[in-house]
Symmetry: C2
Subunit: 326 residues, 2 copies
């Protein structure tokens, strides 16, 4: 294993220290990343988190227009309730706090426990479960939460910034999740620092269809194929679950080890697929956003937009990982 780390034990802490050094807009305390400016009175606070290894998710989405805090567990390991409670209390500006939780058993349990134990803060939760690949998985009952997490964080973040009450912010977050669908394909495994080697074997000529973001198995393995075919597999899975129509927000997301040029190749094919179904890519995002360490591969996430969601997507955002319009 060759990685740019000091030790396998310190990798999360070292990365967060680096983030804090790079971004004066952030503060890091006990592996929780906060906006340095602190909570804004009257604004609903947004807290997310989960295992590390998916950067820039979640810590890179802390800032104006998105999260107020991100609770960072060890690699692929849910944060325990204590830091979630601390984050929830810290970011409450008196209007309550929304927990944005990816659907993995550990995350669900720990965020639920934190929501029960926190005192004096109104808490609502939204569960993200957008991955159409498999019904249950290694760490999940029901569908896994993947790329749509970014959509939920961005759009709910804009709603919170506009001063909407907790109930409405939670409703828009749930609406975005309900609309969104994802499907991922891996070209390689990933290597967690503590494991020291790839966590699954994928033969040199094969890819895994429907991969999770922790190396969880997908639907099946097939020989490597042209990007057009692989994009077609992902889009068929999404289209089969929710027929594409109207204006779409489309993300082609890299798994961490895939260069941007390849993601643009995939995006070109996805855009052609969407057009071929009579729908329209109204907004898009291409890059490494919801990753799985150094895994090579991609996922596609699609969310049909209406005017209000488009407006919230376009609203200013200023985080290390997503930034525009301000």
């Amino acid at each position: 294993m060759k990685k740019l780390i000091n030790t396998a034990d310190s990798v999360v802490e070292d990365a967060l220290n680096g983030m804090a050094a790079a971004h004066p807009s952030l503060r890091v305390r006990d592996n929780v990343v906060y906006r340095a400016a602190g909570p804004r009175p009257g604004k609903v606070g947004l807290v997310s988190g989960g295992g590390s290894g998916h950067e820039p998710l979640h810590a890179g989405f802390v800032g104006y227009g998105m999260l107020d805090a991100a609770c960072c567990g060890e690699i692929f390991t849910s944060p325990v309730p204590d830091p979630i409670i601390e984050a929830t209390t810290s970011v409450d500006g008196g209007a309550g706090v929304l927990h944005i939780v990816k659907n993995y058993t550990g995350d669900v349990l720990n965020f639920e426990m934190a929501a029960e134990l926190v005192e004096g803060v109104e808490v609502a939760s939204v569960l993200v479960d957008d991955d159409v690949a498999v019904q249950d998985s290694l760490y999940t009952a029901g569908r896994r939460g993947t790329g749509a997490t970014l959509f939920v964080e961005k759009i709910a973040g804009a709603a919170a910034e506009e001063g909407l009450p907790l109930e409405d912010v939670a409703a828009v977050a749930a609406d975005v999740n309900r609309r969104s669908r994802s499907f991922g394909i891996a070209l390689t495994s990933c290597t967690p620092p503590s494991a020291g080697k790839p966590i699954f074997d994928l033969p040199e000529n094969q890819v895994e269809l429907g991969i999770g973001i922790h190396g969880e198995p997908g639907r099946t393995r097939v020989p490597i194929a042209p990007a057009r075919e692989l994009a077609g597999v992902a889009m068929d899975a999404i289209h089969g679950d929710m027929p594409l129509r109207g204006d779409l927000l489309v993300m082609v997301n890299g798994m961490g080890g895939t260069p941007l040029s390849e993601l643009y190749v995939v995006f070109g094919e996805v855009a052609a697929y969407v057009k071929g179904r009579g729908a329209r890519v109204a907004r898009s995002l291409v890059g490494n956003y919801v990753t799985s360490l150094d895994m090579q591969g991609f996922s596609v996430t699609v969310c049909p937009l209406d005017d209000e969601l488009t407006r919230l997507w376009d609203a200013p955002v200023e985080t290390p990982g997503l930034r525009w319009g301000r």
Copy 2:
């Protein structure tokens, strides 16, 4: 080789088509990426380019506050003069055009030839040669041009946007290059699609110090070491060439296959190194910006800032690869 491509022959064209589909602010014609809005009368035009495989450089830096056009050659292959001439003519708004050229023999020759052959456009050129690792290299006489290219494009782009004349835009570009130093370290080789396999061998326990962005050899190979030590090697090389002092612009850049979390680990160590020398990281950038296909590794680029350069760095920019403040 597993890559998200259709064919090795079409990879540059397919990626550019994907870029055009994702970014309505861009137009692509004959493998040249332009601002869709076209040239602004009276503004100096900025044209850069070179071999592909370094994305988001250069095409991802076309837009307000940076480039007017990027000429994209095949992977690791310089564009020929014709598209450079076409780009230069197309972006001229009557105030002349600056060519930003990385110091590789092919790029230098083709941009020089284009500058000589273009008719009716005043052209100035700046050569980027910031890599302190080696004096000459596989494709270079003198130092190679790497990470500082982004600094030059951003800062000269801001100067052009403000309406400075060609002579002044060229002068600030040359000043940024003169101040900047880079050093890169590879953990793995990269695999060009047409080669189908890694273009050099790097044993499982070794890293290459002073690597180029086309897999050109560096100074030496050493066993993999903690990020702190590798960051120290890169910073010693830079500090040895130009003692660190005052306010610095610092980029920790990924080579394409390195996850963001590892780059933040490196950045934390670089920031500590800078502080230890009594200098200050005034501005920073952490991410995959000047890449080498799927290579794992990083480079550091340092540029001492003064008030004017800081102001130009902070000026609004709106490109697919770099975006803030507008």
